[in-house]
């Protein structure tokens, strides 16, 4: 049933978010990044977010090239420096959605210090981390998330160190949202990306993805399909109410005090169907004072409907007028009046 909903959703028109004329991408056949890009494009399409209100910030590595294939203004930063750049953009232009897309090496290794402090400052960013457990672009060296004992080019005897605990690092903040998903669980991925963008605070989506060329084959997988099958068989949805994700569990962990982190009441039918774990118990009485009230699910639904309506109306305007509206030169109501469109009529 869930798949049927997807087909009817407006996200299906995601291709107009992508620069398909630049395809094929530089990514190897079987790579998981393309899947993430398509899911992100679908979410943006569904939410009515477009190039005038959403900025992508990407880092060095295979994942960083995503910015060049999407029709959004994007900044391809230095290696590891996505977060300071993104945080500054969000500070200067708080009305913009700033989405950071980068790999595990970029985010957790060279940019690890920035990650710690951006989480601490609760920058209102969405980070999509393509976690393929390897440095793929340079040929397959041990990354910060490479599991212990994995053989890579730079650890031929097996990785002697344990991988970084991204979940613990993000969850050390009282306002950050952490989600874990995989490239196999596409619907789940799409839903958590959406929840991450809607989260009012720092949100981090840890997406396990396959790098067949520079990792998978070396550790015994014959094809990308085998890796995806492995994800299907090993990754399970976290039990409802989980406050921590065990290894090989997918789900969403909200900060304490968040409506969705309560006793499961906030777990809507959509969440039921996607396996989002409603984390934790009710907020403690001494919950820390929050800067802004958390957004309820009803409010999110209302905002979503509003943005979709706005998008539908915008799509009927002349491109030049549309830019004027986007840049704030004229209001949408004025533009619609000038074009003779009734804003209350159903699109």
């Amino acid at each position: 049933m869930a798949e049927l909903t997807t087909l009817e959703s407006p996200g299906l028109d995601f291709k107009r978010r992508l620069k398909v004329d630049l395809f094929p991408t530089i990514w190897c056949p079987g790579c998981g990044i393309g899947t993430i890009m398509i899911q992100l494009a679908m979410v943006l399409e569904e939410m009515g977010l477009d190039e005038s209100n959403t900025i992508l910030v990407t880092g060095i590595g295979c994942t960083g090239r995503m910015g060049s294939y999407m029709k959004h203004e994007s900044v391809y930063t230095l290696h590891g420096r996505t977060l300071p750049v993104a945080e500054a953009i969000k500070t200067v232009r708080p009305e913009m959605n700033v989405i950071v897309v980068s790999g595990d090496g970029d985010t957790a290794s060279i940019g690890g210090n920035h990650l710690i402090h951006t989480v601490r400052r609760n920058a209102r960013l969405t980070v999509l981390c393509n976690n393929n457990e390897i440095y793929g672009l340079t040929g397959g060296q041990t990354g910060p998330t490479t599991p212990t004992a994995t053989k890579t080019l730079s650890s031929p005897g097996g990785n002697p160190n344990s991988p970084i605990n991204l979940q613990g690092l993000i969850r050390s903040s009282s306002h950050a949202m952490y989600a874990k998903t995989t490239v196999y669980h596409q619907l789940h991925m799409r839903n958590v990306i959406r929840e991450a963008i809607e989260h009012d605070g720092f949100s981090f989506v840890d997406i396990t993805s396959q790098c067949i060329e520079n990792n998978g084959r070396r550790i015994g997988f014959a094809s990308a399909n085998e890796m995806l099958t492995f994800y299907r068989k090993t990754y399970k949805r976290a039990p409802k109410g989980a406050r921590q994700l065990a290894p090989f569990e997918i789900g969403v962990l909200y900060p304490d005090g968040h409506p969705s982190a309560g006793d499961g009441a906030a777990a809507s039918t959509q969440k039921e169907s996607t396996g989002t774990a409603a984390a934790g118990r009710a907020a403690p009485a001494s919950a820390p004072v929050r800067e802004r009230a958390p957004v309820s699910d009803e409010e999110k639904a209302r905002r979503r409907a509003e943005s979709q309506k706005r998008l539908a109306l915008m799509s009927r305007l002349d491109p030049a007028v549309k830019l004027d509206v986007a840049t704030g030169k004229i209001s949408l109501a004025d533009a619609l009046r000038a074009a003779g469109i009734d804003p209350d009529a159903a699109p």
Partner: protein, 378 residues
């Protein structure tokens, strides 16, 4: 109102006069006052954004992000922090991001002598980041000039679409002078933003700000040009010529003709203040725009003098540039270890003018630490 104002405070006041609305920084002596004053201003003016970053790498990248988002942004640091910012400065050069970096120099290398004054970062400004680029840098020698040059730096950054460096030093930064910056502020002209902020692009043409070489025009626009030497040449010279053209507008220097003198003394920053009494015996030249070097200006002036001496608080970094540009011998008086005084200047000048070496006599090692200090703590 005329008021006792510090050099580092003038950095912030100048930035505000230029329309700056974003500051990111990390505390480091002797530039910390810039951070303090900026945070104080931000507390009273919410439209001015302030970030105390986790390190200089983050602050340098944050001002790049802020600038791309539409703010006029700046940061301030000292030598060690400036080293950490080099990668970001190169990135801003490549991507074409207008922003201003202030380097209040101290004695290096590394942690060096915090916080004695030095001028050792001249070459770091020019060559610090990877690859070839053409930076613009200014160096004031007083509080009012710091204010004015901050505005000039922002204007040059906008016009050249690149980062501009304002050099300073411990003494200029901590110099207190009575000035009326409000009145000075009325006389400066400000260049508005030259690049459209993120999200305000031409309809249907979203930009991709990349540190990697990309095709900017034509059918391949948006594709990487990482193996195309022709594209590199086009973009490199386009940028270089743009920077040179803008730098030409700000060919700032100060020169006091002294037709009786046979020797031209070149000094800048705080050394030019300290060496001011030399004006009676020598012709003085003070470059204000440090990079690109004022080759034509210096050549025209230096032709009248038999000898050139560079006095600077480093081991002859500007002297090297002058020598290379003029193909003439330049004598050096290095004021190392933070010893910037008129006595040191006169002593050094006397030494090199009498044919002696530029290297000062090396002081003897203290034989016994206890002899120097009764507490034995040197």
């Amino acid at each position: 109102m005329r008021k006792l104002t510090q050099g580092n405070e003038a950095v912030v006041r100048g930035a505000l006069a230029a329309g700056a609305d974003y500051f990111a920084g990390y505390p480091i002596s002797p530039s910390t006052e810039v951070l303090n004053v900026a945070s104080g201003w931000a507390a009273q003016h919410p439209e001015f954004r302030f970030l105390q970053a986790e390190d200089e790498i983050a602050s340098a990248n944050a001002i790049i992000g802020a600038s791309l988002a539409g703010a006029k942004s700046f940061t301030a640091t000292s030598g060690p922090g400036f080293s950490l910012m080099q990668e970001a400065i190169g990135y801003a050069q490549k991507v074409g991001v207008p922003c201003v970096f202030v380097n209040v120099q101290r004695v290096g290398p590394a942690t060096g002598m915090p916080t004695m004054p030095g001028q050792g970062d001249l070459m770091q400004v020019k060559y610090g980041s990877t690859g070839d680029y053409s930076p613009i840098a200014f160096y004031p020698n007083g509080v009012e000039e710091t204010f004015r040059l901050m505005v000039v730096a922002f204007n040059a950054a906008e016009e050249s679409r690149s980062p501009v460096v304002l050099l300073s030093d411990t003494f200029v930064g901590h110099l207190n002078e009575v000035v009326d910056l409000d009145e000075v502020g009325l006389t400066v002209s400000v260049v508005p933003r030259t690049i459209a902020p993120l999200g305000r692009h031409e309809a249907g043409k979203p930009r991709f700000f990349a540190g990697v070489l990309m095709y900017e025009h034509g059918p391949d626009a948006g594709e990487p040009a990482t193996a195309d030497g022709d594209e590199y040449l086009r973009q490199f010279y386009e940028t270089k010529h743009r920077h040179a053209e803008v730098a030409e507008r700000y060919a700032l220097y100060e020169h006091g003709w002294n037709l009786d003198a046979k020797v031209l003394v070149i000094c800048y920053g705080i050394v030019s203040r300290v060496a001011a009494p030399l004006a009676a015996e020598y012709a003085l030249f003070r470059p204000i725009r440090i990079h690109p070097m004022l080759a034509d200006e210096i050549r025209a002036i230096a032709d009248r003098y038999e000898q050139i001496v560079c006095i600077e608080a480093n081991d002859g970094q500007y002297a090297d540039m002058v020598e290379l540009a003029l193909r003439r011998e330049v004598k050096r008086v290095p004021l190392l270890g933070g010893r910037i005084s008129i006595e040191a200047v006169r002593e050094g000048l006397a030494r090199v003018m009498s044919g002696g070496p530029s290297e000062p006599p090396i002081p003897p090692t203290p034989a016994d630490r206890a002899e120097r200090s009764p507490l034995g703590i040197g």
